[in-house]
């Protein structure tokens, strides 16, 4: 074999090696779906991986199974569009105080608790000059209740006077 052919043989061997490794490394369902190499060139089973991702937020019906009284109260109130989990999921809590172990019994992902801080209420109800003053998610628009957190009984938890589930005074 001539000296010019030897490196060429090495190059071919290298290409062959890559092709062999490829058989083992690339998943068998890696393909261009519908022949679309531009946008659908992927491992097809990954679509199922995303579909199987566990659901976290369950909605008010899930909570209502054990708390029908609370569900009924809030469904009658002006807070009826607010999901239980908006307020009761505690992102920074380490341990649940919920009497039933939801993680074990329902594979529930979050830690449930009661957040009594003013900040939680002020997320929606703090008066801001650019916050919409009319609530438009009911059949008839209503005036949106806003308070200045620095002037309206500062330091006191809102729930001292207000019942959140009734969206009115206690």
């Amino acid at each position: 074999m001539g000296h010019a052919w030897r490196p060429l043989a090495v190059a071919f061997a290298f290409i062959l090696l890559i092709l062999i490794v490829r058989i083992f490394v690339v998943p068998s369902d890696f393909m261009a779906k519908n022949g679309d190499y531009k946008y659908q060139w992927h491992r097809v089973s990954n679509e199922k991986d995303w579909k199987d991702f566990p659901v976290g937020y369950r909605g008010r019906e899930f909570c209502g199974q054990c708390h029908p009284d609370k569900l009924e109260a809030i469904n009658k109130s002006k807070h009826r569009k607010v999901e239980c989990e908006n307020c009761h999921v505690l992102p920074e809590a380490k341990k649940s105080t919920h009497p039933v172990n939801l993680q074990k019994s329902y594979k529930y992902k979050f830690i449930i608790g009661i957040n009594k801080t003013r900040h939680l209420c002020l997320r929606c109800h703090q008066k801001l000059p650019y916050r919409p003053s009319v609530y438009r998610n009911f059949a008839k628009p209503v005036e949106f209740k806003m308070q200045d957190g620095e002037k309206h009984n500062p330091g006191m938890p809102c729930i001292t006077c207000h019942d959140v589930h009734k969206a009115s005074f206690k």
Partner: protein, 259 residues
């Protein structure tokens, strides 16, 4: 050439012509059917689309909290699949745009960009929720060197975490800054329209968490869906149309200062 030779040569020639004709007959009935099915399958494009009514948004940030919890993006990390921006225009012409902590704690103070602003200085202001636009022509997908990000048949752009090498091209190439590195997996991460929920008939976590009816999701080509009705009948706009990405997230009440 005598008659015998002519007949011999003639037979060989005919036989030789027949064999290639048979060999070329690839398109038997089954093959034809498969091709036909593929042509018919070219989908009547099913498209998930999203409508954001910015006029109703109060900036409570419950959508951001819900999204971070649902999709297991660490709550303390300063990245999020969806976020809410605050736009404040002052009477002297200044525009203040911010999104502190992606609004995961909501807006409870009048302090755009950390500045104390008096109420009578403000000309106008509003909140704009943002998320991945699930573009029709996603520029993030085109640049992926390994095929780790792709568009599903119903128009949602997803990332394959097992296949992503973390090069970050897609993060740089998204004109909406909707992508980021997941702090745990160290792969590209983005909004999936809660693909695990919409494929089960549920609404995305942010849509469910919004008490103000800002966020809506539906099939863009289903005449019965609310999204179809809004896109067809109301004045909607997309973000940065000049990029040619053709977003599937439509906004009501956008202003020219929104970027």
């Amino acid at each position: 050439m005598n008659r015998r030779d002519l007949l011999k040569a003639g037979l060989v020639a005919v036989a030789g012509m027949v064999i290639p004709l048979n060999a070329l007959e690839v398109f038997d009935d089954e093959a034809k059917a498969a091709v036909k099915a593929a042509i018919e399958m070219v989908p009547k494009k099913r498209r998930w689309a999203f409508v954001v009514d910015t006029r109703k948004c109060v900036g409570c940030g419950m959508c951001v909290k819900a999204c971070k919890m649902e999709n297991e993006v660490p709550f303390d990390a300063d990245v999020s699949r969806t976020w809410v921006e605050r736009y404040v225009v002052l009477k002297d012409g200044d525009v203040l745009i911010d999104s502190p902590k992606e609004a995961r704690y909501g807006y409870t103070k009048n302090d755009p960009m950390g500045r104390e602003i008096k109420e009578d200085e403000i000309a106008k202001g509003f909140f704009v929720p943002k998320l991945c636009n699930q573009c029709e022509k996603p520029s993030c997908v085109q640049v992926c060197p390994v095929g780790a990000t792709y568009k599903t048949e119903d128009g949602v752009v997803l990332v394959d975490r097992t296949w992503c090498i973390g090069c970050g091209y897609c993060i740089m190439n998204c004109p909406y800054q909707a992508r980021f590195f997941h702090p745990v997996y160290n792969t590209a991460e983005k909004c999936t329209f809660c693909y695990h929920r919409i494929t089960k008939g549920m609404k995305p976590a942010c849509v469910q968490a919004c008490a103000f009816g800002v966020r809506k999701i539906g099939m863009l080509n289903d005449p019965n869906s609310e999204v179809f009705q809004i896109v067809m009948n109301e004045r909607v706009m997309v973000l940065k149309p000049e990029t040619g990405n053709e977003p599937n997230v439509f906004y009501i009440g956008l202003d020219k200062i929104v970027r």
